[in-house]
């Protein structure tokens, strides 16, 4: 029975001791310790958040880089393609113009040749005419040397006139 009988003295001293401890520790121990713990938690949390943010930023950077790289690649491809096209076009154009020039030159050559030939022909004709006249003259002169012959020709002409 003794063990469960409340004792006023113990009750009183427990209350006094506990109240003293409670108030002293509350003011001089729990407050600074809990504040310290809270601040430390806060700073740890901040540090973790900062690390997390840095990680996210890093990732964003990487993504951006990747994007830039991709864009650069595309740009390069585009440029290359364009250059190739330009090159092709220029080459084509050069080829075309060269061809045209050649044709023109050939044509001109043809024309020149034609002209030269015609000129040559004309000259030849003239010369042939000259030669023919000279030959005719010689023949005529030979023929008309004797009288008989002259008469014959005159007669011939006369007869032809007569016919007319």
């Amino acid at each position: 029975m003794e063990i469960i009988m409340p004792e006023l003295g113990v009750f009183f001293w427990t209350a006094v001791a506990f109240l003293i401890v409670w108030f002293i520790l509350r003011k001089f121990a729990w407050k600074p310790i809990l504040n310290m713990l809270h601040e430390r938690d806060q700073s740890i949390e901040d540090a973790l958040n900062a690390a997390e943010n840095a990680k996210i930023e890093m990732k964003q950077f990487e993504e951006k880089n990747q994007q830039l790289l991709k864009e650069a690649k595309l740009e390069r491809e585009k440029l290359l393609k364009e250059a190739e096209e330009t090159q092709k076009r220029i080459m084509n154009e050069a080829r075309e113009s060269a061809k045209a020039e050649t044709n023109k030159m050939i044509e001109q050559a043809h024309k020149t040749i034609e002209a030269d030939r015609e000129a040559a022909f004309a000259e030849m004709k003239n010369e042939i005419v000259d030669y023919s006249i000279q030959i005719a003259e010689k023949i005529l002169r030979q023929k008309l040397d004797n009288k008989e012959e002259q008469n014959k020709i005159a007669e011939q002409y006369m007869s032809s006139i007569k016919v007319n």
């Binding site: 409340p6 009750f11 121990a29």
Partner: protein, 317 residues
């Protein structure tokens, strides 16, 4: 999950209580003296018994006796005047039997007990143990606080590194987990009661003076602590808490009117909670002086206090 955790601890502690009872029963049959020895360790005493010589002489430390008698006023003297309870001093003696066995009673010249109020504020063995615990508690935590305020941002140093895990345990696993967002308000009380019980329990395990007093196994100590928990709970009870007691939602009206059956049951519950707290700690600490219990009982008392605070400030929807 948490409920399982809590019930596990309560189960374990009641189990150890049961086992101790059984052991006590067996030893009672074998040797009657064992009960005497055990009880002399558990119950309070006006002097501090150190050892008994082979010749049967008790070596004890006398402690101050402080009395206020309605008949003869204040008296302060050392307990050695009682000569181990065999002598009467200034009309006072330690009762050997009856309702007040082991307590100081006032007697007349014939040795009969005198009626009248007798307030006994003696510094008994338990009170000395209590003071020792309180002084060590103050020393530990004031120096820990000094460490904390000197270098607030660095890792814990010195004594703080020993107590910090326990403080964090009380904060995160008891207060935050059970009370919720208003936990901060109750932290000083919970920490004080946790370390108060823990240090009393641990010192109770050290078998030589000034340690070894069965502080938390004393019903008056646990009742005082429970009373504080009750006061803190009641003072902090919000509107929802009181409404739940006097007009519990979801309960049929005929349980409240005309006979307020539910309010009465709930109101009884308000008072049984601290009583349970007191008896639990007292019974377990009396039954088993086991190292694990020193921690578990401090934990359970603090946890249950926190649960009651949580109920008091819970936001009802």
């Amino acid at each position: 999950m948490r409920v399982v955790f809590i019930s596990f601890f309560i189960f374990i502690s009641s189990f150890s209580f049961a086992v101790s009872n059984e052991e006590g029963h067996i030893s009672q049959q074998e040797e009657l003296d064992v009960k005497e020895i055990i009880f002399s360790h558990i119950v309070n005493d006006y002097s501090w018994h150190i050892f008994t010589t082979p010749g049967g002489k008790h070596v004890t430390i006398p402690l101050p006796v402080i009395l206020y008698s309605e008949n003869s006023g204040f008296h302060v003297f050392m307990s050695s005047k009682f000569n181990h309870g065999h002598a009467t001093y200034k009309n006072f003696k330690i009762a050997e039997e009856g309702f007040n066995a082991g307590r100081i009673v006032e007697v007349n010249a014939n040795g009969d007990v005198v009626e009248g109020t007798l307030i006994d504020l003696s510094i008994t063995k338990v009170v000395v143990g209590l003071f020792v615990g309180v002084i060590v508690l103050l020393l530990i935590f004031l120096s820990a606080a000094k460490v904390a305020s000197r270098n607030p941002k660095s890792a814990p140093k010195g004594i703080l590194s020993f107590v910090e895990p326990l403080i964090l345990f009380v904060r995160d696993d008891i207060a935050k987990a059970v009370i919720g967002k208003h936990y901060n308000r109750f932290m000083p009380y919970l920490l004080t009661i946790f370390f108060f019980i823990l240090i009393s329990n641990v010192f109770g395990l050290i078998p030589f003076p000034p340690f070894g007093a069965n502080v938390t196994g004393n019903i008056s100590v646990t009742a005082t602590l429970a009373l504080f928990t009750f006061i803190v709970t009641t003072v902090n009870g919000n509107k929802g808490y009181w409404k739940h007691i006097f007009n519990a939602p979801g309960v049929p009206w005929w349980l409240k009117l005309p006979v307020p059956l539910m309010p009465i049951v709930e109101l009884i519950g308000v008072f049984t909670k601290p009583i349970i707290l007191a008896i639990r700690l007292f019974a377990n600490m009396s039954a088993g002086h086991i190292v694990v219990l020193a921690f578990i009982q401090a934990f359970v008392f603090t946890l249950l206090s926190a649960i009651y605070f949580g109920m008091a400030v819970e936001e009802h929807h």
